[in-house]
């Protein structure tokens, strides 16, 4: 007695039955939901541009973050190079470029920390100062928290790689983390545009 559902159908083992990768679909869903989350914060920021009742205002305290942005955008490139070497099996070069990616991300995070330090202690802008403060810290903070999560994931991969735990079946894991990192980068493009370009004159 065969299983009931198989009884009349000759199962053709050769029939190709391919389904999408679980991790890729999950990562796309995660990125979608995160995008929705960021959208609301971006909308809040745009809505409150120029509506602060008291200073400090964006044009007084914000400076376009050239170096930090360059570092973050550059890290998207270095992570792709690292991936390339992983696929070729050159683990030493993978580690190197992966480490450079982490270093660039850390530099970016350090910049955010410094920027916030100056804003809070020198310029006197806190989250409760005005609506600019509220929206600025929540939007940039949300992005920074994603950078932290990204760095955490990158570090786990680097440690695993040093301990020679990364083998062939983990390539997709690595690729997914790089997708996430690219997403964090893409969000920064939007944040940069909204915070450091559009609101500069208010």
């Amino acid at each position: 007695m065969d299983n009931a559902i198989n009884q009349t159908l000759p199962v053709e083992e050769e029939t190709p039955w391919r389904l999408p990768s679980i991790r890729k679909v999950a990562m796309i869903c995660l990125i979608t939901t995160e995008t929705a989350l960021f959208t609301i914060f971006v909308v809040a920021y745009l809505f409150y541009i120029g509506k602060s009742l008291n200073g400090p205002y964006p044009y007084e305290v914000l400076h376009f973050p050239w170096w930090a942005s360059a570092a973050l955008f550059g890290s998207s490139g270095t992570i792709m190079i690292a991936e390339h070497y992983l696929k070729k099996g050159k683990h030493g070069l993978f580690n190197l470029w992966w480490f450079i990616t982490i270093a660039l991300g850390t530099y970016f995070l350090g910049f955010t920390a410094y920027e916030w330090y100056v804003l809070i202690y020198k310029e006197g802008l806190t989250i409760s100062t005005n609506v600019f403060g509220s929206t600025f810290y929540s939007l940039v903070g949300l992005h920074a928290s994603h950078v932290i999560v990204g760095l955490f994931l990158l570090t786990i991969i680097l440690i695993s790689s040093f301990r020679k735990k990364i083998d062939h079946e983990h390539h997709e894991h690595v690729e997914m983390i790089s997708w996430y990192w690219h997403f964090v980068d893409a969000i920064w493009v939007v944040v940069l545009l909204v915070v450091y370009v559009l609101s500069m004159n208010y």
């Binding site: 007695m1 065969d2 299983n3 009931a4 559902i5 009884q7 000759p10 053709e12 029939t15 695993s160 735990k165 083998d167 079946e169 983990h170």
Partner: protein
């Protein structure tokens, strides 16, 4: 799970994920973290610790490989009952049988023709209306604002002089309304025209439908847009409708009909998934 290289499935067992308490502990940690926010910060710290431990435990469950264990398959006498064929059969109704009509068009015009026809018709219609506006009402903006008045309350309340002045909102709303409607009608033409009982499709699309449409508008416009009803001139309205109908109808009617694929499967029609080799 059968594609998992670390699977140990065999005849007598199935791989199932190992039961674990780590997700529960992580969730409880997050609960304490939040609960601390409404009570005291010590509980939050405890929650953070708990969630971290849970997260590490969880990670150890899935890295380097998600944990599985073999689960024994039941003895065969506990398997589901085999499904036996039912004696009753089903009779199917086929198209054309017992005088049942075939109601859908077996062939229709391509949507692209409807789209382009709609745009072309819209341009002609706009040209006629605007020409009348310039020649008779001495303002090109008058017909545009009048159309927009259906959706823009401020224009609906405006007097004739205001309607003759350029309005950005009016222009945008009118353009969107005009072209959306025109394209929709054009798309509708591609499907409807082949179903109408005549050889010459363009007579239907070009003349009869615009006249019916104008009559319908004449009867109901007072309810839809009183402002427009009070100011509209029906002669140019009919002329522009006919202009649209003739251009769009002719364009659609001249395009080559294609099969509607009504007999194909949905998957095949969408082109998304191939069928199994064993299937017809």
């Amino acid at each position: 799970m059968a594609h998992d290289p670390h699977s140990h499935s065999d005849e007598n067992s199935v791989e199932l994920p190992t039961p674990t308490a780590w997700p529960l502990i992580t969730a409880f940690g997050i609960f304490l973290l939040f609960f601390g926010l409404v009570t005291t910060v010590v509980i939050s710290l405890l929650g953070l610790l708990c969630a971290t431990i849970g997260g590490i435990g969880w990670f150890s469950d899935v890295f380097p490989h998600p944990k599985h264990e073999p689960f024994p398959i039941r003895p065969k006498d506990q398997w589901p009952q085999p499904i036996s064929p039912e004696g009753r059969s089903v009779s199917h109704l086929h198209v054309g049988e017992h005088g049942h009509r075939e109601q859908y068009p077996a062939a229709a015009h391509p949507y692209a023709a409807g789209f382009v026809g709609g745009i072309l018709g819209a341009l002609v219609m706009a040209a006629i209306a605007c020409a009348w506006g310039v020649l008779v009402d001495k303002s090109i903006w008058y017909p545009i604002n009048l159309l927009a008045a259906v959706g823009v309350p401020s224009l609906a309340a405006a007097d004739v002089e205001t309607l003759k002045v350029f309005s950005m909102v009016g222009l945008v709303v009118a353009v969107i309304t005009h072209f959306t409607t025109a394209v929709l009608v054009g798309l509708l033409y591609t499907v409807i025209l082949p179903m109408l009982p005549a050889k010459r499709e363009w007579i239907w699309g070009g003349i009869i439908i615009p006249i019916i449409w104008t009559g319908l508008m004449w009867a109901t416009l007072g309810l839809i847009s009183p402002a427009m009803n009070a100011k509209i001139e029906w002669l140019p309205f009919l002329l522009s409708q006919l202009g649209f109908g003739l251009v769009c109808g002719l364009y659609v009617a001249r395009s080559v009909r294609i099969s509607t694929q009504r007999t194909w499967s949905v998957a095949a029609r969408l082109g998304v998934e191939a069928q199994h080799p064993g299937e017809k």
